[in-house]
């Protein structure tokens, strides 16, 4: 038996909605006790946390790792290191690789590479249709047996509703979770920005925020029809929220996420065509950003994710509309998320509910809790420590962060996965 006591910490409990001073005991990789007074077992190693905050590690749904196909952009090794430094203890990997992960064999390759190279836990998602082409469903049953935790074609919207209906019905029979990208593919074709004054001034091809609601409305109708377990990867506009709220109220098995970038940045951050701010969906107006933050607070949106998308310099050093979309977000997850704490929008327990507890619950994982019996996947951090981000200091192979040169607050001091310290020194 190995036992470690983390003493003198500020314990963030997302389930109980509390921050309390106290200690946490880890025995054999599992949380054995939490509280102010913990009886010390014999042979325990005691670590004084010096008042650092301690929270359940982040479960990040929707991380792009470049394996297979684009290892020069990100490998499981580099992604794991970046995750550990950003407070992320579980990566839920996206299947939009090259080739896409759409067979049990491909999924097993990912699982093996992750086991060999990643510091943090990796769970894999599978494509929903073969080749993410939207024509035939994948072997949902086999893939579930191989460990796929969800099925998604990512930003490739399945346009054929007959194909999607059958896939949702089949997935429902197996209890599989399907993740969709709410976006009308016709209206958003070719768009690099959100339509409005800014896009017009910059002369960028733009999409109305309404395209998100149209995608959402369509999918909600199909969820109602098939009963599928469904999660929207990113809700980023005010107009989509009432429909989402209604769907939840009507008892559909539906949840929604949003990206850390869409709640901390807006369209004006693009400024003079800065391509690190080219995202999918494009950054929104400040009104939309605020509405999305409100939805995080009221629980209409359940999950916060990094939507980590590594891109090399070549893919970004292009005119804005030609540049590849996406930003890295693993390593900046915690400090970016804390912007919402420092702005007074969300409390620390609320943030970890969105980033750790809710995603774990949605995937049926025991993580995300500071409770006896839960795996000791933990992050210790100082929420107030300031720093200026230098993108070349990032651990990711790709350096495409929108926070380059930004002043941020919140530094991860230590990260544990299954009770093992994988980042930091204590």
């Amino acid at each position: 038996m190995t036992a470690t006591l983390l003493q003198n910490a500020r314990l963030i409990d997302p389930a109980g909605d509390t921050v309390t001073p106290g200690s946490l005991l880890i025995v054999d990789g599992v949380i054995a006790a939490v509280g102010a007074e913990i009886p010390l077992p014999a042979g325990v190693r005691v670590i004084d946390m010096g008042g650092l905050h301690l929270a359940p590690g982040i479960v990040d749904i929707g991380v792009k790792v470049g394996e297979p196909g684009e290892r020069h952009k990100e490998s499981f090794r580099s992604a794991g290191q970046a995750a550990a430094a950003g407070g992320v203890t579980t990566i839920v990997a996206r299947p939009d690789t090259a080739p896409p992960i759409d067979t049990p064999e491909a999924l097993e390759f990912v699982a093996r590479r992750a086991r060999e190279a990643s510091l943090v836990r990796v769970l894999a998602m599978s494509a929903l249709t073969k080749g993410r082409a939207g024509r035939e469903m994948v072997e949902i049953g086999f893939l579930q047996d191989a460990g796929a935790v969800a099925f998604t074609d990512g930003t490739h919207v399945v346009t054929d509703t007959k194909v999607l209906t059958r896939a949702l019905t089949y997935a429902h029979g197996l209890g599989a979770l399907v993740i969709g990208h709410p976006q009308d593919p016709g209206l958003s074709r070719g768009a690099a920005a959100t339509s409005g004054k800014f896009a017009s001034l910059r002369g960028l091809p733009a999409v109305s925020p309404m395209a998100e609601r149209m995608g959402l409305d369509r999918d909600i109708a199909l969820i109602e029809m098939t009963g599928a377990r469904y999660h929207f990867d990113q809700i980023t506009t005010a107009r989509a929220l009432p429909a989402l709220e209604r769907a939840k109220r009507n008892g559909l098995d539906v949840t929604a996420g949003t990206s850390i970038h869409h709640v901390t940045l807006n369209e004006f951050d693009v400024a003079d065509y800065r391509t690190f701010f080219r995202l999918t969906p494009p950054l929104r107006s400040e009104d939309d950003r605020q509405a999305t933050v409100d939805a995080l607070r009221t629980g209409v949106i359940d999950i916060l994710a990094s939507m980590h998308t590594p891109q090399d310099e070549e893919s970004k050093r292009l005119p804005f509309e030609d540049a590849a979309p996406g930003a890295v977000g693993l390593e900046t997850f915690l400090p970016a998320m804390l912007r919402l704490f420092h702005s007074g929008d969300l409390t620390l327990p609320a943030l970890f509910r969105l980033a750790s507890l809710n995603p774990a619950k949605r995937l049926g994982l025991p993580q995300g809790r500071l409770a006896v019996g839960a795996p000791a996947d933990l992050v210790a951090f100082d929420p107030h420590a300031p720093f200026v981000l230098d993108r070349f200091a990032l651990r990711s192979k790709s350096k495409n962060t929108p926070f380059d040169g930004a002043r941020m607050q919140g530094i991860v001091r230590a990260t544990w996965v299954g009770g093992t310290l994988i980042f930091g020194e204590l």
């Binding site: 339509s195 409005g196 004054k197 800014f198 896009a199 017009s200 001034l201 910059r202 002369g203 960028l204 733009a206 109305s208 003079d272 065509y273 070549e314 050093r317 292009l318 005119p319 804005f320 509309e321 030609d322």
Partner: protein, 320 residues
């Protein structure tokens, strides 16, 4: 003469004083261009490269002539059919060019923001000859010079811009410039060709052309950019001509002394009636072409002065 700019990338970065400085100098070049010997040595010894990633005849010829009249060594690179097709990125092209030590780089590119991206990577002065749907600053300046010479001022005029505003960099640069010089701007066109949020730019938007033209001092027609249309912005050319084509009847709603402008090339019978375009009492379309050369001479002259001053300063530093 005060023109504190390294590049000419857009009207957005030009304060009114810089616009006036440039137009005043351009007036002098109009006089030079009308003389028998049209030569100055303002750019003598300097190399000007025209890089057009998008086909152009008129703008490229205008820049070429402007450079040659000022004594620059001018080279045209038809990039549309060269290395870019071989997969070279814009940045690589820029770095290759930069190694050849040009002094003035004139760039047109189909993507918004591409010229600014290139300007950040080179040591010379860059002039934007049109980037995507973003800006076309020398066009707005030549339009301003034409208006100023016809009307005697740039403020308190009512200028109607008609047609495909959504896809037009000419419209954007003109809106920025005329706003800055305190004129009233009206935008006329079908709603499918209006950019979102355009009313926030300080413009009045009209769907009905006759209402929009009422009392206008300047009528600026835009080319209906057929090559930009994915299809389906307007039902047909003939319906467009019926509702938004400029003919004598519609022009009668404008001020009696209103001038008619067009950046060219014109689609006669689509956005403008041939007779109006050729009416020497109303149309200043040929003057626009003439002003274009003068404005580009002035722009390159001013940027070259700054370039020389900056290099002079460097030499002094080294010597001290």
């Amino acid at each position: 003469m005060h023109f504190p700019h390294r590049h000419l990338l857009g009207i957005e970065h030009l304060p009114p004083a810089s616009i006036t400085t440039l137009l005043d100098l351009a007036d002098q070049y109009v006089a030079l261009n009308r003389r028998e010997v049209k030569h100055s040595d303002a750019l003598a010894g300097l190399t000007q490269i025209n890089m057009f990633f998008e086909a152009s005849t008129r703008t490229q010829a205008s820049f070429e002539l402007a450079g040659k009249r000022l004594g620059a060594d001018v080279m045209n690179m038809a990039v549309a059919q060269s290395s870019v097709k071989k997969g070279e990125t814009l940045i690589d092209t820029a770095l290759t060019l930069n190694a050849m030590h040009p002094d003035l780089l004139v760039v047109r590119h189909p993507a918004s923001g591409a010229v600014a991206l290139l300007a950040a990577k080179v040591n010379c002065a860059v002039l934007n000859a049109g980037d995507g749907r973003h800006e076309h600053p020398t066009q707005a300046l030549l339009d301003a010079l034409t208006i100023r010479r016809a009307k005697g001022r740039l403020h308190r005029l009512t200028v109607a811009i008609c047609g495909d505003i959504a896809h037009s960099r000419v419209a954007r640069s003109n809106i920025l410039l005329l706003n800055r010089m305190e004129s009233r701007i009206r935008l006329i066109g079908p709603p499918t060709l209006m950019p979102a949020g355009i009313a926030d730019f300080g413009c009045e938007v009209f769907d009905d052309m006759r209402a929009g033209l009422k009392g206008a001092d300047v009528v600026m027609m835009l080319r209906l950019q057929k090559e930009r249309m994915d299809g389906g912005f307007i039902p047909s050319e003939r319906e467009y001509y019926h509702r938004y084509g400029l003919d004598a009847e519609k022009l009668a709603h404008a001020a009696p002394d209103a001038i008619v402008m067009h950046p060219g090339p014109m689609n006669r019978g689509v956005e403008i009636d041939g007779e109006i375009a050729d009416d020497i009492n109303r149309s200043v379309i040929q003057e626009q072409v003439e002003m274009g050369v003068a404005v580009r001479m002035a722009a390159m002259d001013l940027l070259a002065r700054n370039l020389r001053a900056a290099r002079g300063a460097k030499v002094t530093e080294v010597m001290a």
